[in-house]
């Protein structure tokens, strides 16, 4: 594989069905918004490379079905993830109430040092808003995690949110690297557990 990046971070998008996870991903990677988006079934990912402090960071962002019973094999989804974007819809208070359940899901399946951020999406829809900015911020503060309101449609804060999350992960990774210079597990190369018997193309033939 061409290594045209300094860091590779695996990020996940989670949250209730219909909160706009796929639209956020589409905005981040294609800078576009589609009104004919389709329900996500199974899992899928897209890539966006960003630059932070002069370093190239490849963000590999995974998207999944929101309906709880459709999330088959969650452990496979969470494996190697360094960051989670937990999304709710500001026009749907149920999706906000479910944030607690999603946090529990992260605690159960994700690595303990995963960086999480809460996003209140659809911030452009003010006439149907059910969750105020303050309420969202308050919950995030309680959990001690970052919070932003976004709009994939109006392109508000989507890029900023991913930059903020990537920055936190990078800081954490750099710190880990400084204290254990030989340990590049997980954060830098999420798939290294296989590397000893599977080092790229040749190793697998």
């Amino acid at each position: 594989m061409d290594k045209t990046y300094d860091y590779l971070f695996k990020l996940l998008l989670i949250g209730d069905s219909g909160v706009g996870k796929t639209c956020i991903l589409f905005r981040l990677t294609e800078d576009a918004f589609s009104t004919t988006s389709i329900s996500t079934i199974g899992i899928d990912f897209k890539v966006r490379t960003i630059e932070l402090d002069g370093k190239k960071i490849k963000l590999q962002i995974w998207d999944t079905a929101g309906q709880e019973r459709c999330r088959v094999i969650p452990t496979a989804y969470y494996r190697g993830a360094t960051g989670v974007m937990l999304v709710y819809d500001v026009t749907n208070d149920k999706s906000f109430a479910n944030i607690n359940n999603w946090i529990r899901d992260i605690e159960e399946h994700a690595s303990s040092d995963v960086e999480t951020m809460i996003l209140g999406n659809k911030s452009d829809v003010n006439d149907r808003r059910q969750v105020s900015r303050e309420t969202g911020q308050q919950l995030a503060t309680e959990y001690g995690i970052k919070f932003m309101e976004t709009s994939a449609k109006a392109s508000v804060n989507v890029e900023e949110a991913f930059f903020a999350l990537a920055k936190d992960i990078k800081t954490k990774t750099d710190k880990q690297l400084a204290s254990h210079p030989h340990s590049t597990r997980n954060t830098l190369f999420p798939y290294t557990p296989n590397a000893h018997h599977c080092c790229g193309k040749q190793g697998c033939k």
Binding site: T40, G42, C204
Partner: protein, 388 residues
């Protein structure tokens, strides 16, 4: 491109069905079939004409066995006019049992209603772009009614995202009323396992894909195992009968012909056929989950698939690796996997307790246990050799 007149039952069509009662579509008179034949003959090749003659003959004789055989060859049931007659027959629909439409209140208070509406609203791409917005909206309303009616009639069934993709296909071919009878029937057979309370069993069945791939091509199986790609790349293929991912309407209905008459696990074998077809590409790809996952998920969305040849391969695969054997193999593998995981966990715990290195570590929860084990060991030793 989609022919709206044929693919979408217009209101008149649907009304006709409803007015005549569902029984009307069971019979195809000789004149009607001749008319249909002349209508379509000009557009078909010689081989297709022969195939269609066979299909019409079986249809007139109500020869379901013959129809089931024809679904696996040629172009299946060829055309939506024929599918309207054939699908209810091969799905063994019982139209004797009537089922009233539930009231809007019952529908809207159902636990799955919001999820269904959300998915139907996001199914625009499944409708042909040529239909008018008003017609499309009324079809989306029909789709919601159709799904909710099946869920209300069968409270033991749970809605899953993707069920709407299946239902929209039946709705476009059969119209709302007949689609209900067919979907209602198939939800108790082919889709049953996807509609259980959890999708754990579906996840288990998906493992069969990996088992068949491994048996057919050990090198490919090994490569995919090492990449840890799993089988989730095929989830949307299997649980929607490929209707969520195939861009061409004709390919979707053709595959539905095949899956309708086949064993409920046939979509797994079709998936294996597709994976085997991409064997060289997969072996050339980087051996990691994202690379292979992406390579495979893009195949049905971006490539023109040789559907007929894949159907042939899928049939052969099922012959060579019968579903019952594969289910047993999967259960055995799962048991072994769970046992290994349990043993590894126990070993980790046991090893930690007896690992005297913990004595010299800064406090860990194993330090105390290691000290205890050491003390007991010394005491026993002392008692045996020094205590008279």
């Amino acid at each position: 491109m989609v022919d709206t007149s044929a693919d979408n039952p217009s209101h008149e069509n649907e009304d006709k069905l409803m007015a005549n009662g569902v029984h009307s579509s069971d019979e195809l008179s000789e004149e009607e079939s001749e008319e249909l034949f002349t209508q379509m003959e000009s557009q078909l090749t010689d081989k297709e004409v022969l195939h269609m003659t066979d299909v019409l003959q079986c249809l007139q004789l109500s020869d379901t066995r013959g129809l089931r055989r024809l679904a696996t060859t040629g172009d299946g049931f060829i055309d939506d006019n024929l599918r309207r007659q054939i699908w209810p027959k091969v799905a063994k629909v019982s139209v004797v049992e009537t089922s009233p439409r539930p009231s809007p209140q019952t529908i809207e208070s159902h636990a799955f209603y919001n999820q269904v509406v959300m998915d139907v609203n996001r199914s625009l791409s499944r409708f042909p772009p040529s239909i008018e917005a008003t017609h499309r909206i009324s079809m989306q309303d029909s789709l919601i009614r159709l799904i909710m009616r099946v869920l209300i009639k069968n409270p033991e069934l749970h809605y899953f995202q993707g069920y709407h993709d299946i239902c929209v296909t039946f709705l476009m071919v059969l119209g709302e009323e007949m689609a209900f009878y067919v979907v209602n029937q198939l939800s108790k057979t082919h889709f049953r396992v996807f509609m259980e309370k959890t999708m754990d069993k579906t996840a288990d069945l998906m493992d069969i894909i990996a088992i068949v791939v491994r048996e057919e091509s050990p090198s490919l199986g090994q490569h995919m195992d090492r990449s840890q790609v799993g089988t989730i790349f095929a989830l949307s293929w299997v649980i929607t009968w490929f209707s969520h991912v195939l861009p061409t309407y004709e390919d979707v209905t053709r595959l539905f012909d095949f899956f309708l008459v086949s064993h409920s696990l046939m979509p797994l074998y079709f998936t294996v056929a597709l994976v085997l077809r991409k064997e060289h590409h997969i072996l050339d790809a980087d051996c990691d989950m994202p690379s292979i996952h992406q390579l495979l998920t893009l195949v049905p969305e971006t490539e023109e698939l040789p559907i007929e040849s894949l159907i042939g391969t899928a049939l052969e695969l099922m012959d060579r690796h019968p579903p019952q054997d594969m289910i047993r193999a999967q259960q055995k593998e799962k048991k072994e996997r769970l046992m290994l995981a349990k043993r590894a966990k126990n070993r980790a715990l046991f090893g930690s307790v007896f690992d005297f290195r913990y004595l010299f570590h800064t406090f860990t929860r194993f330090q105390f246990m290691s000290i205890t084990v050491l003390v007991v060991f010394c005491a026993t030793f002392y008692q045996i050799y020094w205590n008279v």
